[in-house]
Structures are given as C-alpha cells and as structure tokens.
Symmetry: C2
Subunit: 208 residues, 2 copies
DNA sequence: TACACTATGTAAGTCTCTCTTACATTAGGT
DNA sequence: ACCTAATGTAAGAGAGACTTACATAGTGTA
C-alpha cells in the first residue's frame, strides 16, 4: 500500500509537498501501529513539521484519514484490474481471479480494514465516485456477462450476480480477518472457499 | 438491542447494580450518537455516578465496550435461533431464514456494526466462545446437513458450505450498511439478493 | 453493640491528543 | 523592492481517558 510518490524533499521553511507527505506518513503509521489511533502530531513529526502544520492541508484528522482511504481504494481497484487481465474474457477463471484478487488485497492489508470499511469510509466514498466507471465492480459485471454469453446461460441482471459474488468475497474477507473462520472452521483456506463458492454459484446459474 | 434487565434502582451512596447500568447506558449512547464515540463520563452520568466510578467495574473504556459487544452477540444468536424454528428441518426455507434473520439483525442495528465487527470485537470473542455450541453457525450447519440428506445431495463438509453462506450474508450486510450496494446497484433489495444467491448456491450443489 | 474489612463511591488532578489563534517566513507576481 | 497568498511555528485551550487519595456503606465477627 504505497501512497502515491514519496514527498519531494526540500529542506527549507516550506515543505513543498506536505499534504502528500502527510498521507504517506499516516499510511506508514497505520501499518506500523495497526490502526488509525496514531496522534496527528506523529504524522506531522514524521513529515518534519510542527503539530499545527497539518491543519493547513486538512480540516481535521478525519479528512486526512479520508484521503488515505481514497488512496487505498485506488490501490484496490488497480490491483484487481491488473490481476484479471491474465485471464481470458468469458472464462470462469477470470471471474474467480477478480474475486480472489479482491479477497487477497483485503487480507494482505489487515491494518487498513477498519479505515476502508468503517464509518469514516462511507463519507470518503463520494470523492471516489468519478472513478467508478473503471472500478473492479464493472469488470466483474462484464466478466459475468461475457461468461453467460459464451456459456449460453441466461442472466437477466449481471450486476445482481456481481453483487452476490462481491458480497461473498467481502464477507469471507471480513470473517477471516476477525478470526471467525479460524474459530468455526479452523484450517479452512479462504481462497479455496471463495473459488468453490463461486464455482457452485456459476454451476447453479448454468444448471437446467 | 436491549441489554439484559434494567438496573435495580436504589438511590443511596452505593448504586447496587452499576456494572450492568453502565452497559445499558453505553448501549443507549451508541444507539443515540451512532457509535462508540461517547465519553466515559456520559455513561457514568446516565447511571447517576461520578466519572471515576466506572473504573471500579471496568479496567478501561474498551472493557466496557467489549461487554456491550458480548451482549450484542448474544442478542444476535438468540434472534437467529428464534427466527428459524418456524421452518421445518431439511427445507431450503430454513436455511434461507437463518441467513435472512442474520442479515436483518445486522442491518437493523447499524449503530452497532463497528462495535460488533471492528477490531475491538476480535478480543471480546474469546468470552463468547463457551456459548458457541448453540450459536447460529451450528444451526446453519445442521440445516444444511438435513437439507442435503433429504434432497439426496452429497456434501462432504456442511461446515464449509455454511461458511460460504455466512460469508454471503455477512458481506451483503456490510456492503449495504456502507452504501456500496445502493451506489452500484440502486434499488436492489438485499433480502431478495440473499435469497436468490442462497437458492442458486443450493441449485449448484444439487445439480449433476 | 463495637470493630474491622472489603466493596464501591467521590473529588481533584494528570496526561495525551485534537484543534485554534496569533504571528513568522517564503514564493511569486507586478 | 513590495504586496499578497500560501504555508509554516509557538503556545495554549478544551475534551476526554485514566489515576490517586479519601469517604461511605454493607457485612461478618466478637
């Protein structure tokens, strides 16, 4: 989860790229301390400025976290997009790859889970909307529609099935991260689980 | 989400049931203010005691919240258990009712979502474990096994399928509460979605 | 009843953290 | 060179979590 580019160093009284540096610092602190419970002044010190400086760029701590949240969602959609290009359009493998890469991203960034899926994120979502045309969700809808056409399966609403699969991946990720899966079904591999669930679901769609 | 019984009033210097009263007060504050961002002193005042009194009963605020969290999970499993008894064992309806009641509970208590599925809850889980034999999850496993037997479907591991369905319900709830479903597929009814997803999954299992 | 002991409450204060205010410095345009 | 806007600093106000020293109440025991 690298947040954009590193800040351009410039040593003088004026930082030059403080806003961005603070986003990077906040991301690092979240990764290191396992959550958003770092002090604003820590992010400021890490960027080499005083405790009041961040408030020139962010109204409050939540606004900084919202920006970090956006960066995370951009990284998520980029990851998902990159992972699926290796798989041919219309194949089950592509659909499964979309789900797996989503699940993998969420699980590989546990420290960012609260930030991305907590209350704060709901507000931050509005700013990501403009990008929504290229988001992973639409890739999933397209992948499903292509699969249905190729397999001669009738699907009235691919977006609906996409939401089901998304819910799957999202739910599995949440349950895994909070230890519920390890508690109730220890040893279960979540990637296997996602693949078999998706497979069964597609089976159910293409059944008579 | 009513937390146990109301505290026994007793007016004197000693409260008599402060620990419980604080859990109730905290629950009310979460409901009213929409999260766990209430001040410890507010819960204390609501129970009619000073700001330091709660620390006689809870090590810190997290410990109070953990207790509220436990109450929530007890309420959840009770709700799920009560909802499913109306449906005959071995039917699809029972399986779907288990999922629907779970989804419904989570969605009807949005203010408690962070508390129940956030980082704090992971620690609070250990104390609920003793009850896990009667938790909703095992009802789901049993319902699936009964259905498979009745329908002559071979399922090697009902717990695995149960986890898939749980993930479904959990994911749909999370996506709905954070506005993602309304954003990408506006107007979609999540209960319909859960039912059709579960149906398709069972179709996939009972297919050739 | 008298006494000790423990549980539970209060008052007052400390510490940390967010955010504000008043002032200082710098970059860039004219 | 000078003005202005942007961006930084120093100092502190205020909120809220938690602590410490002390007060009060119930309970068991002689």
């Amino acid at each position: 989860m690298t947040a954009r580019e590193k800040p351009t160093d410039c040593g003088g009284y004026h930082h030059g790229d403080l806003r961005n540096a603070l986003v990077v610092a906040a991301s690092e602190l979240i990764e290191e301390r396992g959550g958003t419970d770092f002090a604003m002044v820590d992010a400021a010190r890490r960027a080499g400025v005083s405790s009041a400086a961040p408030y020139r760029h962010f109204k409050d701590k939540d606004e900084l976290l919202a920006e970090v949240c956006q960066v995370c969602f951009l990284a998520l959609s980029e990851t998902v997009e990159q992972q699926c290009v290796d798989y041919e359009t219309g194949t089950r493998a592509r659909i499964i790859a979309l789900g797996t890469s989503y699940l993998s991203f969420v699980i590989r960034h546990p420290k960012f889970y609260e930030l991305m899926w907590g209350d704060l994120a709901a507000g931050a979502m509005d700013m990501i909307e403009p990008r929504s045309q290229h988001t992973g969700f639409h890739l999933l809808v397209e992948a499903l529609a292509a699969w249905a056409e190729r397999e001669q399966v009738v699907i009235d609403d691919p977006a609906r099935i996409a939401t089901e699969l998304w819910g799957f991946a999202h739910g599995i990720a949440g349950l895994k991260l909070h230890g519920h899966i390890d508690h109730f079904t220890p040893g279960l591999d979540v990637y296997d689980l996602l693949e078999s669930a998706a497979t069964t679901l597609l089976d159910g769609l293409s059944c008579p």
